[in-house]
């Protein structure tokens, strides 16, 4: 219990640090931030005249620049607690929270299946390679290594060029055909899947490679452990031994899965950018181009919270899964 509380305390501090960073960094821009921001936005081709004036007033209020600094911060925290992330510059007067809510499902739908499938297939293939050994292992390992070492956005670019430009099998942008509105029909679903294939593949291949490389080396490491020799000495078959190894090696891999899910939102922003696929990544890309600070802040905060939550859950459950952690050592040596 003390363990859980102290962990919670550390995570709360991390969260506070993130919020503080999130709050102060954009305010480090010299001068009156609202002036600067609106001016910068105007360069990016914003609105004119009265609309500009109205925006100016909104942001002045949101930033609360007429108040003392501490009050500004508390004000920000208050809004945050109510789920109010402010108003977007770029898509004025849309609320940041609404924009994010509209994009998030696309990101989750793209990444969650990719992470799960990549994790399952990758671990399975990794153990298989380690167990088989010989040339199977050598070539499989080389394959995994290649896949896992390609930067995921480079693979995305290569796939996009190969299968939608050079060989036009798949659409080259968007989440569904332009001009259609999302509705529930077989046609539309097929259309969505058609758009989904390439981005999904580009993620899943890299994930399989990474998981398999990790799992393989862990399995090989375990294969030379004393307890494996002991089981072997008592006639336990290699097949059964691989099972125990798999179980032992899975523990760290489970945390990997949780982390991957936690960092899902911020993990592959560029896939969406490359494929012009709707989602958080594309949203952020546009926000950065338009200097849309409230939106950028909202997204980074979301990414942080997701990662923190995943880490916190891992820390709490890891002790339950692994008996070795449960009994911490006392004393210096």
């Amino acid at each position: 219990m003390r363990y859980a509380l102290s962990k919670a305390a550390w995570y709360f501090m991390a969260f506070l640090a993130a919020v503080v960073l999130n709050y102060f960094l954009p305010r480090l821009i010299p001068g009156n931030p609202v002036d600067t921001i609106v001016a910068r936005m105007a360069q990016g081709g914003g609105s004119e005249g009265e609309a500009r004036q109205q925006m100016y007033q909104t942001f002045l209020r949101e930033f609360g620049l007429d108040r003392p600094p501490l009050e500004q911060f508390l004000n920000y925290l208050g809004n945050l607690l109510q789920g109010d992330l402010g108003t977007s510059f770029g898509n004025y007067p849309a609320k940041v929270a609404d924009l994010i809510a509209a994009s998030l499902p696309w990101t989750v739908a793209l990444q969650l299946p990719a992470i799960l499938l990549g994790w399952i297939l990758g671990n399975w293939l990794g153990v298989l390679a380690a167990y088989r050994g010989g040339w199977v292992d050598r070539w499989a390992f080389l394959g995994f290594l290649t896949l896992s070492n390609i930067p995921y956005y480079c693979l995305a670019i290569l796939l996009l060029y190969a299968f939608s430009v050079a060989l036009p099998l798949f659409p080259s942008f968007g989440g569904y055909a332009p001009g259609t509105t999302p509705h529930l029909s077989l046609d539309f679903i097929l259309n969505v899947l058609h758009h989904y294939t390439l981005p999904f593949l580009s993620l899943v291949l890299v994930l399989i490679g990474g998981q398999a490389v990790g799992m393989r080396s862990m399995a090989i490491y375990e294969l030379s452990a004393d307890y494996v020799h002991y089981l072997r000495s008592l006639g336990v078959s290699d097949r059964r031994i691989v099972w125990s190894i798999f179980r032992n090696a899975m523990l760290p891999q489970v945390t990997g899965l949780a982390l991957a899910i936690g960092s899902l939102v911020g993990g592959a922003l560029l896939t969406e950018v490359v494929f012009s696929y709707p989602g958080i990544g594309s949203l952020l890309f546009t926000a950065i181009r338009q200097n849309d600070y409230p939106l950028i802040q909202g997204i980074t905060l979301l990414v942080t919270v997701a990662v923190l939550a995943a880490n916190f859950i891992i820390d709490l459950t890891y002790g339950l899964i692994d008996p070795r952690i449960r009994s911490a050592q006392v004393g210096e040596r």
Binding site: S244, R324, S327
Partner: protein, 326 residues
């Protein structure tokens, strides 16, 4: 007495990078039914490698070059049968390793490990049956049943080693190969493990033990007979008491003399260790391998390898003994 296990002219070598280092060189031994045979020597004398070979665990880079292996009347040619049926391991010969903590899967409970071992040979055993058998065995040996639910790290060092002993003998192997099973333990835990081994022999769970250790006083108490190894060869063999009280080989004598025990004679004189180190087995010296460290060595020792003098019950390989009848 009846012979349970015997090896004849066993040679084993590590082969790596084109280099062949023979660490077990022409060893012949017999283990009788109901007996504990001790094997002693300094580190690097080949006793642990011998244990690996006897437990049928030799795998590259360790190769068995030659040797007959008789077990309960059946012969196995170790050099050819590399994948020597895993059915033998655990069932006919079982290994009792040194570090019990590392020998047990850290994430498995003791009952899960026991189940794994039983299922390796009787695949249809249900967890309940395995549990009941292990429980019964623990009770019969006077060990607490609660260890079944424990994880390895939750047991004390001494208890862990006894639990490993029980797991190794779950399938009633004929021969137990114990490789320094007590070296990491305190004397009281040592005693408990030794008592357990005796118990297992008396209850006929196992029929013979080969006990490998560097600790002569311990072997003197555990083993019925002791073989002394030096540089891959057995240099002397005999009943435990005689080996200590009336050893023949200068190496055995030096080992016995270097022993420090809380017995009054120790404080009355200066105890000397053995100078020098065992030879490099990549280039063993010609003649007697102990000659470079031997007080009594003369020219012949450095040229010709001494054969065993005596009979197969009591022999020593030293030129000093030539002409002495057994």
């Amino acid at each position: 007495m009846e012979t349970l296990l015997s090896v004849k002219n066993l040679c084993a070598a590590y082969v790596q990078g084109g280099q062949r280092v023979r660490v077990v060189d022409g060893v012949s031994l017999e283990l009788r039914r109901g007996e504990v045979l001790g094997i002693a020597g300094e580190s690097g004398c080949g006793k642990s490698t011998l244990a690996q070979v006897l437990a049928l665990l030799a795998r590259p880079p360790l190769w068995v070059e030659q040797g007959e292996f008789w077990l309960d009347g059946t012969i196995y040619h170790l050099a050819q049968e590399h994948r020597l049926s895993r059915e033998l391991r655990g069932c006919k010969v079982a290994m009792l390793p040194q570090g019990a903590l590392n020998a047990l899967n850290p994430t498995a409970r003791i009952r899960e490990i026991a189940l794994e071992v039983i299922r390796a040979h009787q695949p249809k055993t249900t967890p309940q049956e395995a549990y009941a058998r292990t429980q019964e065995r623990l009770e019969r040996l006077g060990l607490p049943v609660r260890v079944l639910e424990a994880y390895p790290h939750q047991l004390s060092g001494g208890m862990r080693q006894r639990v490993v002993t029980v797991i190794s003998t779950l399938l009633n192997p004929k021969v137990l190969i114990a490789d320094e099973p007590t070296s990491a333990l305190d004397v009281s835990s040592q005693k408990a493990v030794v008592k357990l081994l005796r118990e297992l022999l008396e209850q006929r769970v196992i029929e013979g033990v080969i006990f490998i250790a560097h600790d002569l006083p311990l072997l003197r108490n555990v083993a019925d007979r002791i073989a002394i190894m030096y540089a891959g060869k057995v240099v002397e063999l005999g009943p435990s008491r005689e080996m200590v009280e009336a050893s023949r080989h200068p190496y055995t004598k030096a080992l016995v003399e270097a022993v420090l025990v809380p017995e009054p004679y120790i404080r009355q004189r200066r105890v000397e260790g053995i100078e020098g180190t065992p030879p490099d087995l990549r280039a063993p010296p010609p003649g007697c391998r102990f000659a470079p460290r031997c007080r009594y060595a003369w020219a012949r020792c450095r040229e010709l390898e001494p054969p065993p003098f005596g009979d197969k019950e009591r022999f020593a390989a030293c030129w000093l003994l030539e002409g002495m009848s057994a």
